[in-house]
Each structure stands twice: as C-alpha cells, then as structure tokens.
C-alpha cells in the first residue's frame, strides 16, 4: 500500500514480557518518528530517525525502550520487561522532506495484562 503500515494492529501480552512493534514507512521517506498515545499522557514523541544520522532518542521514557531502523526503511520499537503503564497506542509516522507533513500509520494498540 501507499501508506505507513504498522504491525501488529493489536498486541496483548503479560507483564514482564518483551514486545516488538514494526513500522513500514512510505517508500522513499527519509524520516521516521515513533509516538505513544496513552490516556494519561496524551500523544508523546518517543524517537526520531533521519537518514543515516544517529537517532534522536530524547523521548524514550526508560531504558526498557529501544528502536532501530534497518536499511533506512523498516523500524522496530522494542519494549523490554513490559509494565502495565506501557499500555498505549504506539503510532509511527514518516516524512518525505522538510516542508511536508508527517504521515501516520493506524498504530499498534498494546495491552499489558
């Protein structure tokens, strides 16, 4: 498809487990962003990738969170030792170039039991 694709759309896991969330950006988009949407905190920036530059990790809430972007395309957000407060919708967005808006995927709804 032409849009940002995220998988899985829903993920339910037990507290303490690790999870991986995937984002396929729009082809050719050089910038990729992860955001988190939760009831208590609203929409928050997590991490930003731009080309081959070092990612901006300033929004990651703890060292249990990490992300990588392979080949400048697909990105994986990993949460280790999940906690109940990690329950949220994780949104990915990609950007072609400055002056253009970000395009968002439909998100992954993560539920920690």
């Amino acid at each position: 498809g032409a849009g940002v694709s995220q998988s899985p759309s829903n993920k339910v896991t037990e507290k303490g487990k690790d999870v991986e969330l995937r984002c396929d950006p729009i082809s050719g988009h050089t910038a990729l962003y992860w955001y988190r949407q939760s009831l208590g905190q609203g929409l928050e920036f997590l991490i930003y990738f731009q080309g081959n530059s070092a990612p901006d990790k300033s929004g990651l809430p703890s060292d249990r969170f990490s992300a990588e972007r392979t080949g400048g395309s697909v990105s994986t957000l990993t949460i280790q030792r999940t906690q109940q407060e990690d329950s949220a919708v994780y949104l990915c967005a990609s950007l072609l170039t400055r002056g253009q808006p970000q395009h968002f995927g439909d998100g992954t709804r993560l539920s920690i039991l």
């Binding site: 962003y33 920036f45 439909d106």
Partner: protein, 112 residues
C-alpha cells in the same frame, strides 16, 4: 521547549452549525503548525498545516485555520458541521526536526 494547549476537552455541536476549536502554542521561533483528526481506532489524518505565508489556511473536509502570531493561536474552524466530523482533533507544533508536540485533543460530538 514547544507546547500546545487545547482549552476545550469536549465540544458538542449541532449538525449544520459552525465549529471552532481553539489552539494556543508556545514556541520560540516561527512555528510549524498542524491540525490532525482521529476517528476511533484510526491513526491521525492531517487536516491542514501552516508553515509560512498566508495566515488563513484551507484544509480538507471544509476546514480552515488561522495563524495569529500576536495571540500564539491557530484555531480551527468549519462553517457547517456534518455528522461525520465527530472525532477527536489534535493541534500540534513542530520544531526544526519536525518532532511534533501535541495538545491534549478536543473531542467533538455532533448531535442531529
């Protein structure tokens, strides 16, 4: 640091009536401003954006927004609301890296 305030958590409007959603931002430089809409279970859809130029911006679905630097505002308007406009609306400001800071959102309910 940039921030966005959406003072109205919830607005109810009659179908066919006008709608205005308020947004105030805080940012040290010229802001990049956005309005997104989110329907339940969906991602964010861009309604309109302001980067520079004309301060009255036209968007999709009949929405428009006006950038007022003196008031640090970027209010969203629609002259006549349709039932399909019921959704949550987010105002956002971006820094030079286009990292978005969002407001808390305004939920719009449309009554028949």
């Amino acid at each position: 640091a940039q921030s966005v305030t959406q003072p109205d958590i919830h607005i109810t409007v009659s179908e066919g009536a006008s709608l205005e959603l308020r947004c105030n931002y805080s940012y040290g430089a010229t802001p990049y401003l956005f309005w997104y809409v989110q329907s339940p279970g969906q991602g964010l859809q861009l309604l309109l954006k302001y980067f520079s130029g004309d301060t009255l911006v036209q968007g999709i679905k009949g929405f428009e927004a006006e950038f007022k630097r003196s008031q640090s505002s970027f209010n969203l308007r629609k002259p006549s609301v349709h039932w399909s406009d019921a959704a949550e609306y987010f105002c956002a400001v971006a820094n030079n890296d286009y990292k978005l800071s969002f407001g808390a959102g305004t939920t719009v309910t449309v009554r028949a």
